[in-house]
């Protein structure tokens, strides 16, 4: 199940539709080479510090979009709250696969759909926009969104926590304490502690059975990777690289 979208794809396509091939190609190279020293995504604003090897100072590149207001977010959130799967995905740190489509259908796209939706500036002297710093920033932003797609929501003015809080019923509770370890008893140093009294079990629910040897039963040593979902960092598909290792662990 590595069918999750590359979130940044529409954004990259939009940038590349500007017809500035050589400049963008350089930006892609620069981003890969690590010229983008930092990148932060805040409500409406992406700020990057970019410095090439031949440059003496870093330039600040900024890309702005319109953050959605409370009423607009409420429309999105009402829609998402109707189905538990959105909150469920957010709870385990995952971006719901169809969230971009849902928001777009409401007329509130997460990523800018045309160059007119964004404003760019940079502290460099290059008169052309996007300058090489902005071009690199675009690609660094794209890679960042693939690793952490919650950047898309943050750019439009919502953090993951805020979004989640609005999708689920609130419920306060008290934290519980953990017991402290017991000291060593020298008299029983060599032996196993006495067995604990058997506790009750959930017999009322039915039986818990190890299902072995049944037809079609799914047993794969790489199932854990599917449980956790894809991991893409700096364009490298880490899950994909780890999968052959896991497959070798099985009997």
């Amino acid at each position: 199940m590595t069918d999750e979208p590359r979130w940044s794809e529409p954004f990259v396509a939009m940038i590349e539709s500007l017809g500035m091939g050589p400049r963008l190609a350089r930006g892609r190279r620069d981003a890969r080479a690590g010229h983008v020293r930092s990148l932060t995504i805040n409500s409406s604003l992406v700020v990057a510090q970019v410095r090439g090897p031949e440059e003496t100072v870093a330039h600040r590149a900024r890309i702005a979009v319109r953050a959605y207001g409370a009423a607009e977010w409420a429309r999105i959130e009402d829609h998402l709250a109707a189905e538990a799967r959105y909150a469920a995905d957010l709870l385990v740190g995952r971006m719901p696969a169809d969230i971009a489509r849902v928001c777009a259908a409401l007329g509130l796209p997460l990523l800018p759909e045309s160059i007119g939706d964004i404003a760019m500036d940079c502290t460099c002297d290059d008169p052309v926009r996007p300058c090489p710093h902005l071009a690199a920033t675009c690609y660094a932003l794209a890679a960042s969104l693939d690793t952490d797609p919650f950047g898309m929501v943050a750019w439009r003015g919502r953090s993951r926590e805020e979004l989640l809080a609005r999708l689920r019923p609130a419920a306060p509770a008290a934290p519980s304490s953990t017991p402290s370890p017991a000291a060593v008893d020298l008299a029983s140093f060599w032996d196993a502690p006495p067995p604990a009294a058997p506790g009750a079990d959930a017999g009322a629910l039915g039986v818990q059975v190890a299902i072995v040897g049944l037809p079609g039963v799914v047993r794969r040593p790489d199932a854990l990777l599917d449980e956790l979902g894809p991991l893409v960092v700096d364009g490298a598909d880490i899950t994909g690289l780890l999968r052959p290792l896991y497959r070798r662990l099985g009997p």
């Binding site: 189905e83 709870l91 008290a174 020298l186 818990q208 799914v218 991991l231």
Partner: protein, 970 residues
């Protein structure tokens, strides 16, 4: 005696070390700095004993210490020093890093150091290593940013982890806390296991990404900071088990009209791991009516939704339940229910609870039924149609859960749309591939004639040409009865011949008839009756029965040294007409005229070539668990001994692992169980690891033709047995005992010559006491506190009796006259069995005595209660015991009977077995015979203990205490 211990080193690596029994006198110890442990085995010795192990240098450990010496571990079986306070002090031990086979430590040690004991800490590390290997094989590991692998503990694995933590001895901890030690060692073992697996694959993986390459065994590399952050987020809390987990329960909506429609519901629940008795349904979570869960979690609804999101990644159908605001269940049709079942193991492994209807516990397995028709087993030995080559009519059918299917049922099953079908009123999960294979097999000729030998052979696992396991044997006639294990009940009974000087109980006659029938077929037999049911008598009756028909080559009986004397005596008693040779000791030429050659496992291994060059009619292995390790030398040697017929006797066919059963049964009928590797994969692993009922049923089908086991509690047997049975257990002396015994005799006879008649009385009584002490144990006479193991034939026999009793869950009382001997035995037996061993002697105050008695009576684990006869004789009830062992003799039947009555009281519902230990060819046996011969005089003659002995003449005394050559075992 050596004891292997283990601990977790500061690096997280598991290390081993060993204590030896050579405890030097405490030397000086000053200051707090760690000094070398004074009785640890050199690292090179331990490393040489274990494959792949290497010395890891001296490591300092805090060990319990009294005075200037570390306290020996209880497994060493030494009495604790009486004085001094217990404190912790640092000692350096010569540590050894175990190889990749740490999980097999017990097996490796049994081969290399058979006399050594596995300390609780080392056994615990081995269990941890097995757990790590299992986790790795299932891919339950995750990489860290530093390119190390860590174990993932969810679901059943978290439970297992907690069990191991509870069982962890302090000795295993090293410098860590309990939980940290376990986590560090588990991660260390898991990392090593992953690397070993990946290295075994050969070619280089994941070139190009240094961090992934490091995980695959390449040069060390850490993840870049951005990757490290992303890894953290990605793994989330997967490494730590949740406190509350999602449970999915599948159940059938029973609706009279509709049995094929939607029909199934999967409903959701939350369950705190710390208290599995609390189960809260999803609807209650949504209404927030359930305050209970708040003990464990801030937001139960988050746990529910998060659990569902994670489960949906593995079981995509679940997404359908998440399209509503507050999911609580998912409706499924039969096909959907089947799809859920196929995903259930993965969901359970990921830590979710999976609950199935109660009828699921015993899944019905599709297999083959072999129906045979042959003559009645009536006139067994004269019937020429009975034999391995006899042809029988047979017909194959398909069977479900061991019941043959009718044609109509087969048609119904073959037409089913999903593998989940309703059959005979219950739901069954069918394997379509197996069903198809079975139908194809039936279509290619489902009947005909085969030999009885072939009928036995098709039961084997993975038999070529038989596509499914044989799970049922039906039909009529002796072959069918043999195959389904009913033979012992349906055979017409054979009586013992007149040459057998004894009577057999009804169940023993059935046993004899069964043995005789298999003998006539040439099919080996494993008689696995409980201890005390008379296996020796049944085999001797078989010999008398076979030899009544005419002369035959000799039968070889192989037994442990400790029962050599019993075989000798019982053969003389039951079959006086048979010529018995004991093959043992220095002079070991075979007597060509012998009917029965009795030898020990040790001698048989030594003389394997001689034995293999002789023609034997039969080979009988008594206490056959001695060959439980099929790779060990003695098991291999005995397999080369040719015999027409093979018999194994054992009261405990499976002591620890099913592979032991394979070893015994493969000796009895070579090849009939298939190779060990297949046996492991088909039976041992499914049964031991997964408690697979179907595999256990298949194993019973496979073994029941030639395995007969009756227990004392079988209704038919219990009625045949007297409630109290007495048996004399003959023991031999070790060479050390014999030397000491002879020295005491010589000394007594020498001094008798020089003594006045007044001093004579004291001299004789003291000499008799010394002889009885030697018979018990050299250390008992010497009183030097030396270790006990392996130095006394009587102690060996006692250990065997207790072994069998405790394995069967039966508590035992052991009486000795000598309080000093009880004090020696108590720590030794406690170390040997790891079971509670209580000791009551005259010095125990009243309150403590009552606590000991109450503890023994109430104990859930079967234990041993040692009593000095004097203390035990006074009005206490120990009715929990099912065995009474008289370790030494009082020679007063009334006193001994009174002691046994501690365990057996009127109104007692359980039966009791009394074992009297007696050293063959020594004063013990001769006085016993004297007392027996004059039974009617017993009260008068021996009423006052041993005083009457002093009235004997010197010549009579000399004869009484003389050491016969047969007394010496080694």
């Amino acid at each position: 005696m050596r004891v292997v211990h283990g601990f977790v080193a500061a690096s997280g690596a598991p290390l081993l070390w060993a204590e030896t029994g050579v405890v030097p006198p405490p030397g000086g110890r000053r200051g707090r700095a760690a000094v070398p442990h004074p009785f640890a085995a050199p690292a090179a010795e331990l490393a040489a004993a274990l494959p792949g192990a290497a010395p890891a240098g001296p490591v300092a450990l805090d060990l319990p210490t009294v005075g200037a010496a570390p306290l020996p571990s209880p497994q060493l079986g030494r009495a604790a020093p009486r004085r001094g306070t217990l404190r912790a002090a640092a000692w350096t031990v010569p540590a050894v890093a175990p190889g990749p086979g740490l999980a097999d430590l017990a097996d490796d040690l049994a081969v290399a150091w058979p006399e050594a004991r596995l300390g609780v800490s080392a056994a615990w590390l081995a269990a941890l290593a097995a757990f790590a290997a299992d986790l790795v094989a299932r891919g339950r590991v995750l990489p860290t940013a530093a390119a190390r692998w860590r174990a993932v503990l969810t679901g059943a694995d978290a439970t297992r982890h907690a069990e191991l933590l509870r069982a962890q001895p302090a000795a295993a901890r090293g410098a860590y806390t309990a939980a940290d030690a376990q986590r560090a060692a588990l991660d260390h073992l898991a990392d090593a296991a992953v690397r070993a697996r990946l290295a075994a694959g050969g070619d280089v993986l994941a070139a190009g990404h240094p961090w992934v390459a490091a995980l695959a065994g390449g040069p060390a590399a850490s993840a870049a900071p951005r990757l490290a952050d992303a890894l953290d987020r990605w793994q989330g809390d997967a490494l730590e088990p949740a406190r509350v987990r999602l449970c999915l329960r599948l159940s059938r909506i029973e609706d009279e009209e509709d049995t094929d429609g939607a029909g199934w519901v999967l409903d959701f629940h939350l369950q705190p791991l710390a208290d599995p008795s609390v189960v809260v349904p999803a609807w209650a979570v949504w209404r927030d009516t359930e305050a209970t869960l708040r003990h464990w979690t801030h937001r139960p609804s988050d746990d529910l939704l998060g659990g569902l999101a994670r489960a949906a990644r593995l079981y995509p159908d679940l997404a359908d339940a998440l399209t509503v605001r507050r999911p609580s269940e998912l409706l499924l049709d039969t096909e959907g229910a089947y799809r859920f079942l196929t995903h259930a193991p993965e969901l359970a492994q990921a830590g979710h609870g999976v609950f199935l209807p109660a009828w699921w516990r015993r899944p019905l397995e599709l297999g083959l039924a072999l129906e045979t028709r042959s003559g009645a087993p009536g006139a067994v030995l004269r019937d020429e149609y009975v034999g391995r080559k006899a042809a029988v009519d047979f017909r194959w059918r398909l069977a479900l859960g061991g019941d043959p299917l009718t044609e109509d049922e087969l048609v119904t099953l073959a037409r089913a749309k999903t593998p989940l079908v309703r059959f005979r009123g219950r739901w069954v999960l069918l394997d379509p591939d197996r069903l198809a294979a079975g139908l194809r097999f039936l279509a290619t000729g489902a009947g005909g004639r085969m030999t009885a030998a072939d009928a036995l052979r098709v039961l084997r696992p993975d038999e070529p040409g038989v596509p499914l396991p044989v799970t049922a044997a039906t039909g009529t006639g002796w072959v069918a009865d043999l195959l389904n294990g009913r033979l012992a009940d349906t055979l017409s009974l054979v009586g013992p011949p007149p040459s057998f000087a004894g009577t057999l109980r009804p169940y023993q006659r059935r046993g004899l008839s069964w043995l005789a029938f298999l003998d006539s077929l040439g099919v080996g037999a494993c008689l696995a009756d409980d201890m005390g049911l008379g296996k020796t008598a049944q085999v001797l009756a078989l010999e008398a029965h076979c030899r009544a028909a005419g002369p035959r080559p000799p039968t070889l009986v192989v037994c442990p040294l400790s029962v050599l004397g019993t075989w000798q005596r019982e053969a003389a008693r039951f079959t006086p007409g048979l010529r018995v040779q004991v093959l043992h000791g220095a002079d070991r030429a075979l007597d060509p005229a012998a009917d029965l050659v009795v030898t020990t496992y040790a001698t048989a291994a030594l003389d394997a070539t001689l034995l293999a060059a002789t023609t034997w009619d039969r080979i009988v292995l008594d206490e056959a668990q001695h060959i439980k390790n099929s790779a060990a030398g003695v098991a291999r040697a005995l397999r080369t001994v040719p015999a027409r017929h093979r018999v194994a006797l054992t009261g405990t066919p499976v002591e620890n692992r099913l592979a032991e059963l394979w070893s015994i049964l493969d000796f009895v009928n070579p090849g009939l169980l298939g190779p060990l590797s297949v046996f492991r994969a088909r039976y041992a692993v499914p049964i031991e690891r997964h408690a697979d009922e179907a595999a256990a049923a298949r194993l019973r089908t496979l073994t029941r033709p030639f395995l007969l086991r009756r227990t004392k509690n079988d209704p038919g047997i219990a009625a045949d047995l007297p409630a109290k049975r007495t048996r004399t257990q003959f023991c031999t002396l070790t060479a050390e005992q014999a030397t000491l015994y002879q020295a005491v005799v010589n000394d007594m006879l020498q001094r008798l010559k020089e003594t006045s008649s007044i001093a004579r009385r004291g001299l004789v009584l003291s000499a008799i006491t010394k002889l009885k002490q030697v018979c018990n144990h050299p250390a008992h006479l010497l009183g030097d506190g030396s270790p006990l193991a392996g130095r006394s034939g009587k102690l060996d026999r006692l250990e065997e009796i207790l072994d069998a009793a405790l394995a069967a869950g039966e508590p035992a009382l052991c009486f000795t006259q000598y309080a000093a001997f009880g004090a020696l035995l108590q720590p030794h037996l406690a170390a040997r069995f790891g079971a509670p061993v209580r000791y009551l002697h005259g010095g125990v105050p009243r309150g403590a005595r009552d606590a000991l008695v109450a503890g023994f009576q109430a104990d859930e684990r079967p234990g041993v209660f040692l009593l000095s006869l004097k203390a035990g004789g006074t009005g206490i009830d120990l009715t929990a015991a099912r065995h009474v062992v008289h370790i030494d003799r009082w020679w007063n039947p009334a006193t001994e009977a009174q002691a046994a009555d501690r365990a057996y009281r009127i109104g007692q519902t359980r039966d009791v077995q009394v074992h009297t230990l007696m050293c063959l060819g020594t004063v013990e046996e001769r006085i016993d015979r004297l007392v027996r011969d004059k039974e009617h005089l017993a009260e008068r003659v021996v009423g006052n203990g041993e005083g009457w002995l002093t009235t004997l003449t010197t010549a009579a005394l000399r004869d009484l205490v003389r050491l016969s050559p047969e007394a010496v075992g080694d």
